[in-house]
Symmetry: C2
Amino acid sequence: MTPVITAFEDSPDRGEGQARDMRVRWALEEVGQPYDVRLVSFEEMKQPAHRALHPFGQIPTYQEGDLALFESGAIILHIAGRHVGLLPDDPNARARAIAWMFAALNTVEPPIVECEAAMILESDKSWHEERLAMLEERIRVRLGQLSTRLGDADWLDGAFSAGDLLMVTVLRRLDGWDMLEKFPNLSAYVARGEARPAYKRAFADQLAVFTGRLLAD
Amino acid sequence: MTPVITAFEDSPDRGEGQARDMRVRWALEEVGQPYDVRLVSFEEMKQPAHRALHPFGQIPTYQEGDLALFESGAIILHIAGRHVGLLPDDPNARARAIAWMFAALNTVEPPIVECEAAMILESDKSWHEERLAMLEERIRVRLGQLSTRLGDADWLDGAFSAGDLLMVTVLRRLDGWDMLEKFPNLSAYVARGEARPAYKRAFADQLAVFTGRLLAD
C-alpha cells in the first residue's frame, strides 16, 4: 500500500523545502518507501474533507490504507517504526533519538516560528524592531545550547536519526538570517543533513511541484 | 529500577500543576509506576551537571538505570511504551494517539506559551494590549478547531490516551483566562481529565513540594 501525503499546491516558500511535507518526504526517502503526493489548495485546506484528515487544516497529512495521520512529528515516528533507518535498534538509544525529535519541534522550533510570524504579521507595527531583537535573542540562546551539546559530533546522539532529520529541517528555517553562521558546528551539521542523498531527492521532488518540472518531464 | 524525575525546587506556579513535571507525574500515576523526584534550583539548572541531562537547562528530566531522557513528550512516550494504560494496542489507533501528543505540544501549546510570554515579558511595552489581542485570537482559532473535532466525545480518539493527557495539561494553561469557557465541550474535557484518580494523585504530589506538606507528613 503506497502512502499518500498532502503538500501545498501553491508553495509559499517557492519550493525551498520549508513546508513541512519536506520533513515527511525526507523520512520516506531515507527508508526507501515510495509515496504519492496529493496537492491541496489553501481553499481546500479549510474544507470539511481536509479537516477530517487534519483537524487544524494544515499539511502534511499521511494516509496508508485505513490509517490517516497528521502532525509531521507523528508521521515520521510512524514511518520510523515501520522501517529501518530512522531510529536505532537499542531501546535506550531509540528513546534518546525520539527525545531529539521532540526537542527539535517543541524547544528549538517555536522561537523561530514566532520570529517568522513577527516578520510577516508585524512588520508594519511601531514595535517591530524592538520586538524582533528580543525574539532573535531567544533563538540565539537555544542555538548556543544546541551548539554546546553537539560539540564536534556529526549527529546529536550517535548515528543519524529522525531526531537529526527534524533538527536539520528546523535549523534550515534560519536560512538567510545570518544567525546560524555564528555557530560553525551547527552550520556544518545542517550541511551534513542537506548532503544526504535522501534529502536531495526529497528536496528536488518538492521543488518540482513549484517549478512544474515534474509535470513537464 | 525506580525512575527519577526532576522538578522545580521553587515552583513558579505555586504548585498549580503548570510545570511540566506534572505531565510526567500524571503519566507515571496512570500506569502505576512509582518514581522518585529530585528537586533542582534555577541555579542548578544552569550548571553542567544538569545540562548533561537536559541540554536546554529545563525540567523535567527522567533517569532510569543508565537511560537519561529530556522533553516531557518523549518521556511520556517512553513510559507509554513500557507500560499498559497510555496508548491503545491497535497499531493504527496507537499512531493516532501519538499524533494527538504532537498536536498538543506543537500546534495547540505554542500560541498559548507565546501569549504567556507576552504577559510576563511585554506587559510594560506600549504595544502590549494590541499584541495581546492578536495572540488571543490565534489561541481562539486553535480552540475552535479542537472543539469541532472533539464534538461530544469524551476523549480525542476513543479511550483516554497520552494524547489526551498532554492536551488536557496544555489546555489547563488557560486557567483563569476566561477563554476555554467559550468552548463548553473543551471545559468539560479538561474537567474529565482532572477528575481522573491518577491526575489527582499527581497534582497533590506536585503541590506538596510547594506547600512543604510532604516533608511534614
